[in-house]
Structures are given as structure tokens and as C-alpha cells.
């Protein structure tokens, strides 16, 4: 956009950019440095040897897997109907489905706690999976529906003439053509689910059922004063996120921007 910059414009821009990137890099560097301080790799080994840490990782992986799989499937089905079918109350239902976008999760604690207790889901994976799917579905539905709207209706009409029912259309048109947006939704939902803090804090008291975001506070209580190991745990739990960012950048950026600018 800037074309040719004058030398002083260029040097001002580069200086400001260098300073801001340094400010942003310092806390990340501090996180790494502090996790290494003391026993170096030993901090990491110690954390990985803790049975509970691997248990937390496993719990997070299970919860995130089910959240992502179920949510992507159910949202794809619903967005298909919202985008390509005509039925009474469709638009009203779609707006209702977007409700979750504005709801502060903390304002749902009282009812969620009672619902989860009534179903006997306290201290189970379901207490984390259910609310997460419900609260994340609005965003996922917004971006997938926008994307499906761009798929030409003629494809579906042609399929119908060939005698394909709605499920065949879903399997043969929506799934293959919608792959990019479904991947995007899956990545964003995975990040959110992996990082989720409020739900396990509220609904899990059995420490073997805690997820990875609970590890830092748990280890601070358990191993007082050994903050270096807590930091090592925080680096370890960020690795999947960083990998996903590096490999899924394009999808992630497209999803976040298409959810906002439309």
C-alpha cells in the first residue's frame, strides 16, 4: 500500500516495528527462559514424569477430540440446512443459533451447574464437552453458513434432478466443497477447547479428571515455590497450539476474519 517510502519514513516504521515486536517477544522469551532456569531440560523431564500431567494431557485430548468431531459434524449438517433448504422459521432459528456469540460464559454458571448435576455429569468429560459444543457452535455456524451460501445452488438442483436425496447432497457436495471451512472451524474450536479454563474450574473437582489448563494452578498448590517446573508445564501445554498455528495459519486467519468481516 505504501509504494516507495522516503528513507526517514522507512526508518521510523522499522524502528517502531522492531520495538513493538521486542515488547511482544519478551514475555514469550521469559516464559521459555524461566522454564529452563535451574535444572534445564530436567524441569521438563520432571513434569513429564508426573503421572497427573500426562493424565491432564490425555483428558484434554479426549475432550477436544469429541468437541471438534461432534461440533464440526453437527454444525455442517445445520449450516447445510440453513444455507440450502427452505423451511418455515428458518431465519429465526438461525438468529437464535447465533445467540451464543454474545453470551458471557460466566453468566451461565448457575444453570449449567444445575443441568450438569441433574444429569450426573459432574466430574465427567460430558460436563466439558456439552457446554463447549453449545457455546462454540454459534461462531462455527456463522462462518460455515457464510461459506455454504457461496456454493452455487445449481449444483444441488442438478443433484436433485439426478434423484439424490438431501443426505446424498450433503455427503457428495457439502462435505468435499466445504472442507476448507470445516477445517477452519475445527482448528478454531480445537484451540478454544484445548485452552478452556472456566468449565473445568467449575465442574471438575476430581483431580484425575482435570484438563491441561488446570495443570499450572494444580502444580503451584502441590509443589510450592517450584515455579520453573510450572513454567515448563506451560511451555509443554502450548506446543500443540503453536504447531497448529504454524501448520494451520491460513485456515485460522481466514476463519477469524470471515467471522468478523462479512
Amino acid at each position: 500500500m505504501f509504494g516507495q517510502l522516503k528513507w526517514w519514513e522507512k526508518s521510523t516504521f522499522h524502528t517502531v516495528l522492531l520495538v513493538s515486536v521486542s515488547v511482544w517477544a519478551v514475555p514469550l522469551g521469559f516464559l521459555l527462559y524461566y522454564s529452563w532456569k535451574g535444572e534445564g531440560i530436567g524441569n521438563y523431564v520432571a513434569v513429564l514424569r508426573l503421572e497427573l500431567f500426562t493424565k491432564f494431557l490425555q483428558n484434554s485430548a479426549i475432550v477436544s477430540f469429541f468437541v471438534v468431531t461432534l461440533l464440526v459434524l453437527l454444525v455442517a449438517l445445520a449450516s447445510f440446512a440453513f444455507s440450502k433448504m427452505e423451511f418455515p422459521g428458518r431465519d429465526l432459528l438461525f438468529y437464535l443459533a447465533l445467540f451464543g456469540l454474545m453470551i458471557p460464559p460466566s453468566a451461565m454458571l448457575v444453570p449449567l451447574f444445575q443441568t450438569i448435576k441433574a444429569f450426573g455429569w459432574i466430574n465427567t468429560y460430558m460436563s466439558l464437552i456439552g457446554p463447549e459444543i453449545a457455546l462454540m457452535s454459534s461462531f462455527a455456524m456463522l462462518i460455515t453458513r457464510n461459506f455454504f451460501d457461496e456454493i452455487p445452488n445449481e449444483l444441488f438442483e442438478a443433484a436433485r434432478i439426478d434423484g439424490a436425496g438431501t443426505f446424498k447432497q450433503f455427503a457428495h457436495i457439502i462435505v468435499p466443497l466445504g472442507k476448507p471451512i470445516l477445517t477452519t472451524a475445527g482448528i478454531i474450536v480445537f484451540l478454544h477447547s484445548w485452552n478452556e479454563y472456566l468449565m473445568p474450574l467449575a465442574f471438575i473437582s476430581d483431580k484425575t479428571m482435570l484438563t491441561i489448563t488446570m495443570a499450572p494452578s494444580h502444580f503451584i498448590d502441590e509443589y510450592t515455590a517450584n515455579y520453573n517446573k510450572v513454567f515448563a508445564a506451560m511451555v509443554l501445554m502450548s506446543i500443540p497450539i503453536i504447531l497448529l498455528y504454524l501448520f494451520g495459519q491460513k485456515y485460522l486467519q481466514r476463519g477469524l476474519t470471515s467471522g468478523a468481516i462479512k
Binding site: 500500500m1 522507512k10 517502531v16 433448504m85 443459533a97 451464543g100 451447574f113 445452488n153 479454563y197 501445554m237
Partner: protein
Amino acid sequence: MTRGKYQWIGYAYVLPIFLFLILFVYFGIVYNVYISLFEWDGIGEKTFIGLQNYLEMFRDPKVYEALLHTFQFMAISVPCSMLLGFIFALLLHSIRRFADAIKAVIFLPYVMAIIVIGITFQMIYEPNYGLLNEALRSVHLDGLARQWIGSRNLALASIAAVYVYSHAGFYMLLYYTSILNINAEVFEAAEMDGAGALTKITRIVAPLLKSTHIILLILGVIATLKVFELVWIMTGGGPGGATELLSTFVFRSALLQFEQGYSAAISVLMLMIALVYTIFQLKSYDKARR
């Protein structure tokens, strides 16, 4: 689409996700309103008390404080994130090399778990040997070393700064993409008129991105209404209630003090604020777009 004929099968496709929404969202909203009319510890008998919880809420100075803190948090974090995000996006457009690496550094805090960011900054803000005060002392600015999150005056702003740190990347991304979408001819025409970089920014980019500014403002306000984790992790609402938000207040009264009825009433207040704000903003957004 088949004209004039409804596809009733559509309901079957939307039903599964609606089961989740009904169970965890719609039922929850109604249940909040219902429970707010009772005095209840969550386990024993409910006592119907009508609107008592609401009357109490409107008389409770702690609720007003939490509301004030929520707005203060918003007033600091939303404009700062927008401004920084805008500046970063512009700067990124001024370079050719390293842009991806720089984007990654600024964006990573946004995708990392808030607990990781929160605890890292807890250590940075630590008054005796924390990185921030150490750095200030090392350049002989001892006078600026502070208690940061330990002081009533600075705690909220210090946490808001961390929030800006973790969210600026998102704002940057949206501004960056919006700038990409501006027609290049506009800039070429400006260059022919002899416009420098600063003129281009203030006269072309900033006004052309009006709808991005509005969208980010809306999203920013809604996102700050949802803030809970960062405050809960860093100060738990303290010191002395200095960082208590509506969200931490609700968490405390619902799950630690077992005042289900009262916290339901405050939840209803939060939902009303979010709903009224969303409707109001969407209307003004529509108007601005036309």
C-alpha cells in the same frame, strides 16, 4: 431451490445442534431468570422471594463497583487494542521480509491459553524480583517500580495491559486483511498527488476502514464483557475487590458462596447488558453500512 415447496427435512438437519443449544443455552437463560426469584444455596430447599434478589442487587455497592470495573476494563483495553492492532497492521504492510515471523510473534499470545499468559505476567509483575521491576531498577528508574497487580490503584490497568498484549494480534489480523482489500488504485492516485505515508494513513486508510473499526469495537466490547479467566488467574478479583468484575463476582457467589439465587440475578443482569448492547450495536452497524 424447489420453489413454493418447503423442505421439512431441514428441521432434522438442524435438530442435533439445537439439542445442545436448548440444553446448555436456552434452558440456561430461562433457568437463570427462574432461580433469580429464589433464595437458594444450590442444594437445600428453595425459598421464593420474588424480586428481592434484584432489589438487593441494585442496592449492593459491590455490584456497582464490579460494573464500574467492567466498564473501566473495556475503556482501557478496547481502544488500546484497536490502536495497536491498526499500527501493527500498517507497519506490517511497510515491510517485505520477516512479515510472517513478526505476525507470528504478535499473534501467538492470542492463541495460547490465557492461563499461560496470566501466570507468565504474574511473574513479570512480581514486585521483588519480577522482570518488570528488575528492568526498571537496572536502568535506574527505581522510582517507577510498583506493586502492579498488588496495588489497588494499578491492578485493573495492569491486567488490562495483559489483555491488550494477548488480544492485539487479533485486531492486527483483521486490520491487516482489511487493508489488503483496499483497491491499490486509490493509493496510486494519492501518490500522484504527492501524498506521503502519513497522509495516506490518515486520509485514506483510516477513513476507508470505517466498517472494520466498528466491527472491532462491537467485538471488543462483547469480548470484554466475557472476561473472566485472566482476572481470576492473576488477582482473583483482589486486592480488596479492586479488580472484581461482574463475571468474577458471579463465579464467587455461585460456586464459592453458594448464593445461587443472587448470582442468577446478576447473571440475568449480565445477559441483559450483552443483549441490549448487541441489538443496539447491530442497528447502528446497519445504519453505518448503508
